[in-house]
Symmetry: C2
Subunit: 333 residues, 2 copies
């Protein structure tokens, strides 16, 4: 197995300190490779980068029809949010509309990703709840699927539960190939995650962007989810996050979503292209530089969009006193 | 440039999620390679892994003679400590003996690495001080050098300051080659860090362990520093840290020290061997699995020492609810 190319590096002073390898691919819905680097056939765990694919189960199982989910709710179902007030209140309202509460979430609780939200919780002497879990919107969507299917919500995170079977089927339909028990793990939020090639995920996002190769329901669902996410970019991530800022800047043209351990997926919607990348070592900052470079090269950014991407294609690193001592940057960008 | 080998990997469920490449070398003081993998000639920033080399300046400039530094003080000078009470009090006392205080430290302040220490600070409504900085002991040693040299302490972190020149000279003497302005950066604690080959650092640690190739002062200083660190392993890192646990288990036979961005250095003292490794991508957990494998293979561990190393050669990863969902592990260990 050849090593993937170095796609990002961290520089300190005048010397390279770290090297980050990875693979990436930009594809159209017919499977034509627009650009790629590294091994795009090796299965990788997509983690949270495919939440919009997973959310298609809400359409398949008529949850959207039953609960008339709003754009904000669909955006939260696609989100890895930062636990800011808008996120916590949005998910709380989402659950309330289902007749459920935070107690029904099986994602566990963790501190908000947003520093101000963490500080506010601490100042109030409060512990984080499952609502603060970055995946609480996705889990609310899964609870909605359970209710629409008429199955017990309890245990909905389990691999054999009807909800996860529905989620798996939606992802398989979009990527156009089966997921395998031989490449399965448990995600941070306790649901199963299935590894598949970057090529398959990129083509899946191209299909979602274009509707090509999908049945009518998935095509409409994908359009609704991408519209929701790109119309509510702050709900999908949070203040200052690359996903939020890129989707804000591109005004609906780009769907962008990160996943844990250095995964980045999305679609350049007006071109009908999907993309997927993974940093081999799981470094998130490095993967952000990589996806910023990918979008600079392939999403035809205007000056304002370029300015946003350039904030992420080279990210300064600071010492304890706050002085810039180096940067993480895409290689060749 | 060939890619370094994969020395660690992260598994989730039944599939490899991340791959960590790196290079390592075990050497004797004559420069004989006992074992190696990857490119050991590429210069890397050693960061905190060479604090014991840097502390030799305290001997060169007669600071140890002048202030009669204790073993605990020498251990703190070699430490990346966790900001626990023993560390903060130890450094406070160290500075007091110099007639200085936390206000003279130029390392900046950060939250303690130890979770209980962080929680205690927060519960007391207190902000961390420079004493909590993991490098505060090293900086105290550098202030001691400044006083012994009769130079102003202010600005002692600067690359051109007499203290940093003394530190640089000590490291150059031990590794046996010059450091270069062309491979220099600023460390997290604001002092300069100089890149050099892993081979040079490993041989330097072998020289410190054996005294071979060093002048009498450096040989005696190295012995005193390794004795101090291995006699006070909790002061060198903190509760639960690999450096502390390994040095406790090996009872003086192994000097082990990590540095930021995936560096691990040390010595197998009874064999007169030094070692150095770097994880290419800077991942700390991966670098810990690598050094645990190195010590399993080369430090002749007894059953108890083996048990400690095995805790680090495979490290479980957990999801938000605390369930084990995978592990980071050395490859081939």
């Amino acid at each position: 197995m050849d090593a993937n190319p170095i796609l990002a590096e961290a520089v300190r002073g005048n010397w390279v300190e770290n090297r980050h390898r990875g693979a990436f691919v930009v594809m159209d819905a017919d499977g034509r490779v627009i650009a790629s680097g590294g091994d795009i056939e090796r299965p990788v765990f997509p983690r949270s980068a495919v939440k919009s694919m997973q959310a298609l189960a809400m359409f398949d199982r008529h949850a959207v029809e039953k609960f008339h989910h709003s754009g904000a709710e669909l955006a939260l179902a696609c989100a890895s949010h930062h636990g800011e007030d808008a996120h916590v209140e949005g998910v709380g309202h989402f659950l309330e509309r289902l007749g459920l509460s935070a107690a029904d979430l099986e994602c566990g609780a963790h501190q908000p990703a947003d520093a101000a939200a963490r500080a506010a919780l601490r100042a109030a002497g409060r512990e984080p709840s499952p609502l603060h879990n970055n995946c609480s919107g996705k889990h609310s969507g899964m609870l909605s699927v359970a209710l629409a299917m008429g199955v017990p919500t309890e245990g909905y995170v389990g691999r054999e539960h009807a909800v996860q079977q529905a989620v798996r089927a939606a992802v398989e339909a979009v990527i156009g190939e089966p997921l395998s028990e031989e490449r399965c793990g448990t995600d941070g939020c306790s649901i199963p995650t299935w590894a598949a090639p970057l090529r398959a995920f990129a083509r899946g996002f191209a299909r979602m962007a274009s509707g090509k190769g999908l049945d009518q329901g998935h095509a409409a669902g994908a359009r609704a989810l991408f519209d929701a996410a790109t119309s509510h970019p702050h709900l999908v991530a949070g203040t200052g996050h690359i996903d939020t800022l890129v989707m804000e800047a591109f005004g609906g043209r780009v769907m962008q979503k990160g996943g844990a351990e250095g995964v980045q997926c999305g679609a350049i919607r007006d071109k009908g292209w999907g993309y997927a990348l993974k940093c081999d070592d799981g470094n998130m900052a490095a993967s952000q530089t990589m996806v910023a470079a990918l979008l600079l090269n392939h999403a035809d950014p205007d000056a304002q969009q370029r300015a946003v991407l350039e904030r992420f294609v080279r990210q300064p690193t600071r010492n304890v006193r706050g002085a810039v001592v180096g940067e993480v940057r895409a290689v060749g960008a």
